[in-house]
């Protein structure tokens, strides 16, 4: 009898052990190394790491590199085949080069597991029919504006008296100029905040207008098309808008532009949606609770058309050298789910999924998510550099100097753009796109 009890006890213990083993996820032994920059959206998804590790048993390690060195460090890590990172969290602008080089690998197994139709702009992350990146943070280039000024009855009346129509967030380029002129009351308030330092930020002002006019950077033969008549018009309009900006804005980068807007020193800022997370933060901004967003305006004749709009995204990729690909994909699936995106968004992220953007609690916390969602739905999300390995060089090496030269007055718009186009043609030739 005694022995039968002890046998049963041993059997029961074995059964419990087996059940525990079976109940434990298959990936319990997995270990995944993440790499990212130090940024607001990284801080948001970091809050999901603990719950993922508890639920999955997969161990996560995160390395963070300052943004200024992130791309270089990552590239050198890849080219040196060090294999230190399994899941790089990267800018959408970088992934084509990494995909082409084989540094990151397609996420074939994930495509079925995640609802990709819920993610705007997802088509940008396919190369040769394969998905390489799952966006986590999506944002658009547009206008941040001061609701308190736009809704002030005195301002509305004065605007209508001067311009003959209602003051409202600009939908057309003419309205945008008028409003910037109206609110331009230096030195305490400027019409618009722009970013004039020679950098990719300056080039975004040009691209915003180029696309609004229906222009494009490259044509379907991959030949430069930005030096067209609309390109010249777009570039000239950039200079025009600087008349309603702080003279200091000629050397502003993103951070300085954001500071000017959050200090309440401008009525509008031509930035992108992430700026709202800072502008709406009581601890960092004088205009918290008084700001909103509108997609980039366009000429009147293009109203209602679905046009390209500056689209910036960060997301998760899978390194070609990842040791435990299945564990890595589990993390990507988890963190990019609707629920995880909603939970993390309050820590400083703009979710990539439409379903997360329409979450009522989130919309209550960030009322500007709704106009952002509408803008996203009604545009063709277009990355600020063409998604080819040469894209970054095309913009940084040729377009940025062209815009900067024109702004500095050392070249006229047409010749500056033509010179850039010549350089881009050479770049594309050397890349083997044509002879």
């Amino acid at each position: 009898m005694k022995s039968s009890w002890s046998s049963r006890a041993v059997l029961a213990a074995l059964a419990v052990f087996l059940m525990a083993v079976l109940a434990t996820p298959v990936l319990a032994a997995g270990k995944v190394t993440l790499v990212s920059e130090y940024g607001i959206h990284t801080e948001a998804w970091k809050t999901e790491m603990k719950s993922f590790q508890e639920k999955s048993g997969i161990q996560l390690q995160l390395t963070q590199i300052p943004y200024a060195n992130y791309f270089d460090q990552l590239t050198l890590n890849f080219t040196g085949r060090l294999g230190n990172y399994d899941v790089p969290y990267i800018s959408s602008l970088w992934y084509p080069a990494f995909a082409k080089a084989g540094y990151i690998t397609p996420l074939n197994d994930l495509v079925k597991a995640i609802n990709i139709s819920d993610i705007p702009g997802i088509q940008n992350y396919y190369q040769n029919g394969k998905l390489y990146m799952v966006p986590y943070m999506n944002e658009l280039g547009g206008i941040l504006y001061r609701k308190d000024l736009f809704e002030d009855p005195k301002e509305k009346a004065a605007f209508k008296k001067k311009y003959g129509y209602e003051l409202k967030p600009p939908e057309t380029l003419k309205q945008y100029r008028d409003i910037a002129e109206f609110f331009n009351r230096p030195p305490n308030l400027y019409g618009v905040t722009l970013m004039g330092k020679r950098s990719i930020f300056l080039a975004t002002h040009f691209m915003n207008r180029l696309w609004a006019y229906g222009g494009e950077l490259l044509d379907n033969q991959m030949r430069p098309a930005f030096n067209s008549a609309v390109g010249v018009k777009a570039l000239e309009e950039v200079k025009e808008m600087f008349k309603y900006a702080n003279p200091a804005a000629r050397n502003y980068d993103f951070q300085e532009a954001l500071t000017e807007f959050t200090m309440g020193r401008s009525a509008m800022a031509e930035l992108w949606t992430t700026g709202l997370l800072y502008a709406d933060d009581q601890a960092k901004s004088k205009v918290a609770g008084k700001v909103s967003f509108v997609g980039f305006p366009r000429p009147e004749e293009n109203l209602g058309k679905k046009l390209p709009m500056l689209y910036i995204s960060w997301g998760f990729t899978l390194a070609g050298t990842a040791k435990d690909k299945r564990a890595a994909e589990e993390w990507i699936k988890y963190v990019t789910s609707k629920d995880a995106e909603v939970r993390a968004a309050v820590h400083g992220n703009i979710p990539a999924r439409f379903s997360a953007l329409t979450d009522p609690k989130l919309q209550k916390k960030f009322p500007w998510l709704e106009p952002f969602r509408k803008a996203m739905q009604n545009c063709i999300p277009t990355p600020m550099v063409p998604l080819i390995p040469e894209g970054s060089a095309l913009v940084n090496q040729y377009l940025v100097p062209a815009v900067a030269d024109y702004m500095a007055g050392v070249a006229d718009a047409k010749s500056a753009l033509d010179k850039a186009a010549d350089g881009v043609t050479q770049l594309m030739k050397s890349g083997g796109y044509y002879k």
Binding site: A97, K197, P247, R250, N251, S430
Partner: protein, 297 residues
């Protein structure tokens, strides 16, 4: 000739043994990278297109670099910056060194304090001056406005294509003048007193003493300061990167920034290496010229 004669002498072997660590250090850290740069400069290598491989192109990178008018504009801008900053540092450094060569209460403290800008990291200097020159929050534009120097405020100095390099020269001089002062002060301290005593007997004025005695005798110290500062000014990068990004337009794009742009924005490693070697060549020519002119005089 016997076998013993063919072998290196013991003395020679010992010399080689003692030199080996130094030679190894130079070989690994200087000669190899230089040769590797030379190799890279003779290739077409796009870091983002490993599928295209590293292609041998001979001197094509140098040819296209030298044919590009932008290269010569960049060389001219760099020369403007280098000569401007070194000249300003020499003049101000000499004045300061002469002032600090006298004994007066607190001179030791002043000698220490003036070194502060020199020990600040250039990137911090860049951010600090960017703030100082900010039209809204920086004190300098307010000072310029109060002095009715509006051309220094609108357009802002760092957005003014004609004044951005002079401004960078001033900032560079602010940071590195203490180094020049230190070198010249050491030179002044080492000067013999006899020529001055003889000059006093002959009735030479202080100005005559400076030009006829101090300057000629100080030539070695001046040469050291000029060579070191020319080399370091040639590779100025941090302040340009932080303050202007090479702008407005390309008004402050110097050679080192051009090389950076080619390497880390275009990922054209071959072309970037060619720019680096061009800078090295300019530095070598300048050094040889300065050393030769120094030794001849």
């Amino acid at each position: 000739m016997n076998a013993a004669q063919k072998l290196p002498s013991r003395e020679f072997r010992e010399k080689i043994l003692f030199l080996a660590p130094g030679l190894g250090y130079i070989g690994v850290l200087f000669v190899f990278p230089l040769l590797y740069s030379l190799y890279v400069s003779l290739t077409q290598w796009n870091l983002l297109r490993p599928d295209l491989g590293v292609r041998w192109v001979g001197v094509a990178n140098f040819v296209s670099l030298l044919r590009d008018p932008f290269t010569w504009q960049t060389v001219a801008r760099t020369a403007y910056f280098v000569f401007g900053s070194v000249a300003l540092e020499l003049v101000l450094g000499m004045i300061l060194a002469l002032a600090l060569n006298r004994e007066f209460p607190g001179v030791g403290v002043i000698r220490s304090i003036i070194l502060i800008p020199f020990i600040i990291a250039p990137v911090v200097v860049g951010f600090t001056w960017r703030f100082l020159l900010n039209n809204d929050f920086g004190p300098l534009p307010h000072l310029f406005s109060a002095l009715h120097l509006n051309f220094l405020v609108n357009p802002p100095l760092l957005s003014n294509a004609s004044l951005v390099i002079p401004m960078l020269i001033v900032i560079d001089a602010w940071q590195y003048m203490p180094f020049v002062t230190l070198v010249l002060l050491a030179g002044l301290k080492a000067l013999p007193s006899e020529p001055y005593e003889a000059a006093l007997v002959d009735g030479a004025s202080p100005v005559q003493q400076f030009f006829r005695i101090t300057l000629p005798l100080l030539r070695p110290a001046l040469l050291v300061a000029v060579i070191i500062r020319t080399m370091t000014a040639l590779r100025v990068f941090d302040t340009v990167f932080v303050m202007t990004g090479g702008g407005p337009g390309s008004a402050s794009e110097v050679l080192s920034f051009y090389g950076y742009r080619m390497a880390f924005q275009s990922y054209q490693m071959g072309m970037s290496a060619a720019i680096g070697l061009l800078t090295l060549l300019i530095a070598l020519v300048l050094t040889l010229f300065l050393m030769r002119s120094g030794s001849q005089s």
